[in-house]
């Protein structure tokens, strides 16, 4: 199969979708799903089944992926086929009772909208984003293989298989400057070429979907909205490094994403886009799903591999790195969901195109999850280098209830907070490190003036304490002790000596822990101490 054959197939699938003037798209990702999207779909379909007036537009109801504005779900978009969110009539907080009204408006030939539910599509939340990873989110039906192919899906894979050598694929990825989106920021091209150079016959590709940071849901939304995009990225990676087997390690707490992945894998296999002789080539690649049982540490790659193998999910010292000795001792490529989701557009449009987006050392876009005290909570995708102020105040709409901004926590329990004074920094891998935090996988928790920073530090320390695997001494016992000290400070029971001990423990745990979980566990404490030390000191009793 070559690109022409695929385009023929895409045309066929587009025709199959039938004559439709407008699509009524309902978000069926977790946030909207749990706030009532299934009932909305049902009601819309019932309304659509009612006979329409002569000359009315033909409308079709469609379940689609995440549109981003999760805080006001369920979201519904009325659009012409192929149009994106900015070209749609958007409705927020839709209930089943609103279905008839929306359907009527969608069918009507004048451009009237349902004002009551209307959500302007020209607000900065939509206009300031750039969708690469999420270009199909909110547009395609995540359960439809044909729908994905119809919008040009799998073209990058077919192009790679039919027109490019593995080395050429790796070159494009290297040129693109793509770096690991899980938080580490390791150059993806370099990782791929390292695994590709390993002489072993058996190699593996793993997709790390064990997203566990509190407040982060980027990977979940990608998998729920556009699962084929991730499969395509994994297949291209497997072709580039010479692997024939892939695993998606996903947490069992993401049942919807797991279901959609299962469906996607099944349909791709049935259509010959996964499995043996993919698209009638010599390339074989199969993907299996492995469910994590909810341990945060299993997002650490050595622990993840131990868990995939069926062992106890705890980390082991590196080196050896997975690229050299990974799953069952074989060279293994591990990338995050969002990294894989970036691959297809890079292959299709070329690495140079991607490298033109973003900052000097951080290319492309990044998906962020906005949570906490913020007006437009949800998922956004913006160019690397956009300032925190733009993200929080322009796109995010600022702080609700007229309260003042205090800080934003980035990087989850491994990161730190950024106060107002530093909000004008452009977000990328390197910039946030200078502030003592990190970009991480993309979680952003916004806090208003009522938040206590000691409580924030204590919360994250409690998270690390309960998620410590218990293998190494500093993380296992240090997080317990640090949590105890933070609790004592929060209760206004502590002395200056306790604060000094806390700072010392931070240093020891950071320097001596075995894996990233322990090494970064003190970060929220160090960061809140750096910017809000007075909040700690206010709570200290006079020293003994």
């Amino acid at each position: 199969m070559n690109l022409d054959d695929l385009e023929e197939l895409a045309v066929k699938y587009r025709e199959e979708q039938g004559e439709t003037d407008r699509e009524v798209r309902v978000c069926v990702a977790t946030a909207c799903h749990s706030s009532g999207a299934p009932a909305v779909i049902e009601a819309l379909e019932a309304a659509g089944a009612e006979p329409a007036a002569d000359g009315a537009r033909r409308c079709k109801v469609k379940g689609v992926g995440c549109m981003g504005l999760c805080s006001v779900g369920p979201m519904v978009a009325v659009a012409e086929p192929g149009a994106d969110l900015r070209e749609s009539d958007l409705y927020k907080s839709v209930t089943a009772d609103d279905a008839a009204e929306i359907m009527a408006s969608a069918r009507s030939t004048d451009d009237a909208t349902v004002e009551r539910l209307h959500c302007p599509n020209d607000m900065p939340f939509f206009t300031r984003q750039r969708w690469i990873v999420r270009e199909n989110s909110g547009i395609v039906d995540p359960d439809s293989f044909r729908g994905y192919v119809a919008v040009g899906g799998y073209a990058a894979m077919v192009q790679a298989l039919s027109e490019m050598t593995p080395q050429e694929v790796i070159n494009e990825i290297s040129t693109s400057g793509l770096r690991g989106r899980g938080g580490g920021g390791y150059p993806t091209g370099l990782k791929w070429s390292t695994v590709a150079k390993m002489p072993a016959e058996q190699k593996y590709v793993i997709c790390n979907a064990d997203e566990g940071d509190p407040g982060a849901f980027m990977d979940r939304a990608i998998l729920e909205s556009d699962p084929h995009r991730v499969l395509e990225g994994m297949a291209i990676a497997a072709y580039a490094i010479g692997a024939n087997k892939g695993y998606i390690y996903i947490r069992a707490e993401y049942p919807l994403a797991v279901e959609r992945l299962k469906t996607a894998i099944r349909k791709a296999k049935r259509s010959g886009f996964l499995g043996n002789h993919i698209c009638e080539t010599q390339f074989n690649f199969d993907i299996e799903i492995r469910l994590g049982a909810g341990a945060f540490v299993c997002g650490e790659e050595t622990a993840l591999m131990a868990s995939v193998e069926g062992g106890r999910g705890h980390p082991t010292p590196r080196p050896p790195y997975p690229a050299e000795s990974g799953l069952w001792g074989r060279p293994t490529l591990i990338n995050n969901v969002e990294t894989f989701a970036n691959i297809a557009p890079i292959v299709s449009n070329g690495g140079a195109w991607f490298a033109g987006i973003g900052t000097e050392k951080s290319k492309g876009t990044k998906v962020f999850a906005l949570a906490g005290n913020i007006l437009n909570g949800g998922l956004i995708e913006v160019d690397m280098g956009m300032t925190l102020r733009e993200i929080i105040f322009d796109i995010g709409g600022g702080i609700p209830e007229g309260k003042a901004f205090k800080a934003v926590q980035t990087g989850g329990p491994s990161g730190g907070c950024v106060p107002d004074a530093h909000l004008d920094i452009g977000v990328d891998y390197d910039s946030l490190k200078t502030l003592g935090t990190m970009m991480g996988s993309g979680g952003m928790i916004v806090m208003d003036e009522t938040s206590s920073m000691v409580d924030v530090a204590r919360y994250f320390m409690e998270f690390c304490m309960t998620e410590s695997c218990g293998k190494c001494v500093p993380c296992r016992t240090g997080t317990y002790q640090m949590h105890g000290l933070l609790d004592k400070i929060a209760r206004a029971d502590a002395t200056h000596a306790d604060l000094a001990l806390l700072e010392e423990l931070c240093e020891v745990v950071q320097a001596t822990s075995l894996c990233g979980l322990g090494q970064t566990a003190p970060n929220p404490v160090l960061s809140t101490l750096r910017y809000f030390r007075e909040e700690y000191e206010e709570k200290l009793a006079g020293s003994r």
Binding site: A295, R312, T316, P317, P320, G329, M465, T466, E467, S468, C469, G470, K471, C472, V473, P474, R476, T477, G478, T479, Y480, Q481, G484, L485, L501, E504, L505, V508, A511, T512, S513, L514
Partner: protein, 243 residues
Amino acid sequence: MPRTPPATQVRVVTLTIDGQALSAREDETIIEVCRENKIPIPSLCWMDGLSIVGACRLCVVEMAGSPRLSAACSTRVAEGMQITTNSERLQRYRRTLVEMLFAERNHVCSVCVSNGHCELQWLAQTCGVDHVRMPYRNHAYDVDSSHEMFRVDHNRCVLCTRCVRVCDEIEGAHTWDVMGRGSDCKVITDLARPWGDSDTCTSCGKCVQVCPTGALVKQGTSVGEMVKDQQFLPILARRRHIR
């Protein structure tokens, strides 16, 4: 990290440890070279003959040119390495790590059967831990005496997993494993059943011998078990008298 068998052809490298120029085979780890050359590095989970887990972190060393510390047990030597094993900073870290171990469980040396031949006790002394600055966790752990020859006292366990590894890698029984998370971790026999009910335990006692503390001990060694049985005396005396 799996133990790799000695390769047939290995190169020899030279490196500096604490200012001392040394040569080593390139497949050796830093801790092996230190032990060979009598350079004292504290360690707890590492044991010659067992696989390497890098869990206790007591053997961390400084390496010139690297901002991060390296565990001497899980780092192989390389040409030109410059290693510091005993800086003021490392001493401070080790002291804190040992303190944290003492604070975690109920290590009461004075009433321990391993008093005087315990690696944790010895580590405290050599690292200069004369008191523990942080509060004790004071969590109750059980004691399993169901095995006819051995006993496990979880109050004294440091989770070094030497027992787990020796049972799996040397004895081949894999009776021991670890369950739980964080400080609630616990070494268990079979699927957390009493040791005495274990189907897999061969009663070889290797776990007891490698345990650094008084967590795994032979039965009959505690003070309470040293009961005297003097019933024989009146019986024998009476019989002799009759004769």
